[in-house]
């Protein structure tokens, strides 16, 4: 075995984003999921089941179903991706694979972008299924283009991935990670305008809801629901959600340390 290849002479740039390391990471995350078909089935089917349920809960008032249904199309990917990412990242931390990866020439950006790419792909499938079901089979009345619904859903999924990644840094166990769901998601759910219009809330709560990203996800969905074309408000909402996702992804990257105590 003396014919060893000179591994060290291969230039392996670290730092900034490396495309093949990012895609290798995304492929690895998806491959892990493929060994867990039940999780995939749950991720894809539950949003559809919930929409189906809602459709018949509001059997007598299709307007309400339109409002809540569209909002939920934005909220599902956020919640699912939040949960999946926070647990997946926590597992990376506790299994020692994160330490191993960071001792290797993997950039933090590669890891985060890899996760975002993998879960983003999954979110596209999830949202496409849920949106298709709602629009074509459950009679969700959307004035605008369903593609815009899909776009917002994808941005929401990215935001969920970002939040999950960030929060997992503060969870020492799976129990804690799961508890971050109610802590981070529920307040946004209550304040995002799903249950009552944001302008009807107590002024303090309205101000708080103005600062929470999920409010803009729901607002964006409602813009698509009511307007035929892309409104300025929609663009603003989409940009805010995307901006928040990038900001939190950056914060998440900062929580990954090559050197730990």
């Amino acid at each position: 075995m003396s014919t060893t290849h000179p591994a060290t002479t291969t230039p392996t740039p670290t730092g900034a984003l490396n495309l093949s390391r990012t895609t290798a990471t995304a492929a690895r995350v998806l491959r892990q999921l493929r060994h867990d078909p039940r999780t995939i089935a749950l991720m894809l089917l539950i949003p559809c089941l919930m929409l189906l349920l809602l459709r018949y809960v509001f059997d007598g008032s299709p307007r309400t179903f339109d409002n809540i249904g569209a909002s939920l199309l934005g909220i599902f990917p956020l919640i699912t991706m939040f949960l999946v990412t926070s647990i997946a990242t926590l597992r990376e931390r506790t299994s020692g694979t994160l330490e191993r990866l960071l001792a290797m020439p993997l950039g933090k950006g590669d890891l985060i972008a890899g996760y975002a790419l993998a879960f983003g792909a999954l979110a596209i499938v999830q949202s496409a299924l849920a949106t298709g079901l709602a629009v074509w089979f459950l009679g969700l009345d959307v004035t605008g283009s369903p593609w815009l619904l899909l776009l917002v859903a994808l941005l929401d999924a990215l935001l969920g991935t970002a939040l999950g990644l960030f929060v997992s840094a503060f969870a020492a166990s799976e129990f804690q990670a799961v508890q971050f769901m109610p802590a981070v998601i529920f307040p946004q759910l209550l304040l995002c305008g799903l249950f009552t219009a944001r302008e009807n809330m107590h002024p303090v709560l309205e101000a708080v809801s103005d600062a929470l990203p999920m409010s803009y996800a729901v607002d964006g969905m409602n813009e698509v629901l009511r307007h035929t074309d892309m409104t300025a408000a929609f663009v603003r909402d989409a940009l805010i959600v995307a901006g928040c996702a990038l900001l939190v992804l950056g914060l998440g990257a900062a929580t990954l340390r090559r050197r730990t105590a």
Partner: protein, 275 residues
Amino acid sequence: MMNYSSEPPRPDTPHGDEGRADGTPAVRARDLTVVRGPRTVLRGLDFTVPRGQVTGLLGPSGCGKSTLMRAVVGTQAKVTGTLDVLGLPAGHPTLRTRIGYVTQAPSVYDDLTARQNLDYFAAILHPGRASADRRQDVERVLADVDLTTHADALAGNLSGGQRSRVSLAVALLGTPELLVLDEPTVGLDPVLRRDLWQLFHTLAAERGTTLLISSHVMDEAERCHRLLLMRAGEILADDTPDALRTRTGSETVEAAFLHLVDAATAAGRTKETTR
């Protein structure tokens, strides 16, 4: 596993490549100190690890072996003093492809097969390499740790010893110059332990790899070229097994270690009383 001889390997003359590179040791520490929370885990250590040899890091659990290894690999925070690895400060980005590191608990993805784990880590290590080369590398390390027949089993379904060998195989990818192995043989049966030690010696002899291996099993110490004996964050001895036995007039490395611990404890006591 490599069955070059049925004899357990004994540390013979190291075939290392002293002439390689600039002749600096693989690891050189001066006044190396590590603080974890309120505790000082390593206290001003001075030691060197020669290239192309198997150096054993021995001591009771909790004495700071893992912390020392993490400092060498560059994953330990709050390291002060000087610590040069392969001629560069520990943690230098270019070292990341030149060091293979195995943590005490196997760090592999349980929901991937052994081969998928290796494929992924190989892609991270050398993304520029042709996939055929990478595949060949993966097959080589699978053979090194004798897991070819289990390559397509999920890591989570493998036995503890098999999983730790997957973890070891990851570290062997890309033929690193320095291997840092934290208790790689813990929980393995005697046959596997012997085979792995044979592999370690083959790596040192044929590929000129430097190995730093921790253990708390003293009989493994006899198989190392050099030993670093640690206790409570300090290095009690840095010598060859033979020299240690001779110096302390002991039969085994274990006896030598106990002798040194007793001497250190006694010295500590006199220091206390004279203070």
